[in-house]
């Protein structure tokens, strides 16, 4: 491939692989933020760009109220040689559908791009495709295009871009305020051991219900004020629902913990395992009536497990000297004891 001299000069300082300058040095979040800075003016603010579960395409003649998201399954990272290929295909569709559901939309059209090494077995790929296709069909998704590329050996990845639409405005991560209740569907933790990271069901109808009920807020009625799906774990994903002025308090005994092999997930596992693909949302109003309406419509469990506080008020009430130490933090109260700050590493008392 040819180069002009000026390209050469640029390239000369520009080795693609150089572990000492790793793009991942500061973690995934920093890498994505840095990439977006480099993309520059073409990146719109959230929810029209990166930052929520989907991007909302809201400014084109034919692209009104369209939701778009992309996610992958990569061998060695999202699944291993033990995973049944059919389930891997299903997982690809479902993890994207879960992002669409978290904004209250319905998934419609998908593009599937695979990078498939020359030694991937045709039988394995058949099963993978059958899993993806049947799952797409069941969820009302059309696979309309994509791409297949080859690399030499021992590599398989599949990216799906999924588009959805909704009759209601998008249910965003942003929007919760002090006093809103923190609610969650299903049960949390043990997603790997139990195989639920492959078996989960995206909460599409439930997300649609919450989006419909979030419209009611503008009329002063009760409704959902913010929502996301749980992929990294509550300890990480709940922070995305908090503004810099708020914090979250979870009541330990109310956190719905998954069971597997006769064991119940610990608090740590329930909040940090991730890949639950449940809906985590803020509800403005009474939980009782919501719960009754929910049970009339859906099979999955729903739980009120905490509350959003104004960070300054929270600091005053619990005698924390600096309110800034509370902002955007998650606290857990165990059996009525004073709340302790919780993060991925556990409690910091």
């Amino acid at each position: 491939m040819s180069r002009s001299f000026s390209d050469w000069a640029t390239w000369h300082q520009m080795e693609i692989f150089d572990a000492s300058k790793s793009a991942w040095r500061e973690g995934e979040k920093a890498l994505i933020a840095r990439a977006c800075r480099q993309f520059g003016a073409c990146v719109p603010p959230s929810p029209f760009g990166p930052g929520d579960d989907c991007a909302l395409l809201g400014r084109g003649a034919f692209l009104q109220n369209v939701f778009a998201t992309s996610d992958a399954v990569i061998f060695g990272r999202h699944f291993d040689a033990d995973a049944p290929p059919r389930r891997v295909g299903e997982k690809l569709v479902k993890r994207n559908a879960s992002d669409i559901a978290a904004m209250g939309a319905a998934p419609k059209f998908a593009l599937l791009c695979a990078i498939c090494s020359k030694d991937v077995s045709a039988d394995w790929l058949d099963e993978f495709c059958r899993g993806a296709g049947q799952c797409a069909d069941r969820l009302g998704i059309k696979i309309v295009g994509g791409d297949m590329a080859s690399v030499p050996e021992r590599f398989f990845s599949a990216h799906m871009t999924l588009l959805g639409d909704s009759d209601f405005p998008a249910l965003l991560r942003e929007g919760a305020r002090a006093g809103d209740k923190i609610c969650v569907t299903g049960a949390l933790g043990f997603s790997r051991e139990s195989g639920r990271h492959l078996d989960f069901e995206p909460r599409i109808a439930e997300g649609g219900f919450l989006a419909r009920r979030s419209c009611a807020l503008s009329r002063g009625a009760e409704g959902a004020s913010a929502c996301t799906d749980i992929s990294d774990g509550v300890a990480a994903d709940l922070k995305n629902l908090l503004s810099p002025e708020t914090c979250a308090l979870l009541y330990s005994e109310r956190i719905p913990r998954a069971e597997f092999g006769g064991l119940r997930a610990s608090l740590e596992r329930a909040l940090c395992d991730g890949e639950d693909y449940e809906l985590l949302f803020a509800w403005r109003g009474e939980f009782g009536p919501l719960e009754r309406e929910w049970r009339g419509n859906f099979e999955c469990e729903i739980c009120e497990m905490g509350k959003i506080f104004d960070a300054s008020e929270f600091a005053r009430r619990f005698g924390i000297p600096d309110a800034r130490q509370c902002a955007r933090e998650i606290f857990v109260s165990e059996n009525g004891r004073p709340p302790a700050r919780f993060s991925r590493g556990g409690f910091s008392h």
Copy 2:
């Protein structure tokens, strides 16, 4: 990761990597066709599914007349360590934009998913992202989302899904008939040596013009009847404009051949190199008036290089015993000599 017993039984016959059963055995086209068969009922027919330059999303309340396409740049396959990262980023955007242009639409929204090994240099990635971002901005594209995933070492791929829209019906690959002229923009061949596989300009305005003029066909006026962009080379891509009843005749001396380093591309190179990213289209009507209108609007060259024939009539006229040998084939006439069949391997007289 856990499995039920029935999963285990399936899995046991299902190694992901097994070169003796390679999914690529019968080539890319067969692999994609096989994958689509496995996807099953969720795959719509072209142009609403795979098979054209983009998929047309034409059946949803909010997804009317939306065009979607996905393409990648993969290290070692679409670029190598010599390629300036900024140009690689530009290429990712432009090769997708070229697919949108080939259907006469305008690109609008993109999702960018990268798989980036831990040893990819942050400087390299910055340059890549700047190239993609600036190119997107210049072409009116918003990068609204995507994903960054890591793998251990020496790997970089980036997939883009690009959405576009149009005020006109899609300009499809299908639609040409006997008598239509075969036209092409720009010049063909030497795309690697000349660096044009990185430097090309997607023909967005030109595609829009052709889509507008294809509407005229239904009123009996002159216009474009089919279009694609040239990625695999004319020898392969022109076949996509032919129905089972037609064949193409190209006039050797009219084929626009690129020059590089004082050399002019041979016929073989012009038709087979690929990655030209020019528009290849069928025109129903006189070429003269089109050419004059084109020159008033666009800088890039346009060329009438051949004609579409009814395969049976072609066989009769040139004394070919079996018309089936002509169907969907490309013939080249050199300086008025009788046409010879041309394929990727060269002429077969």
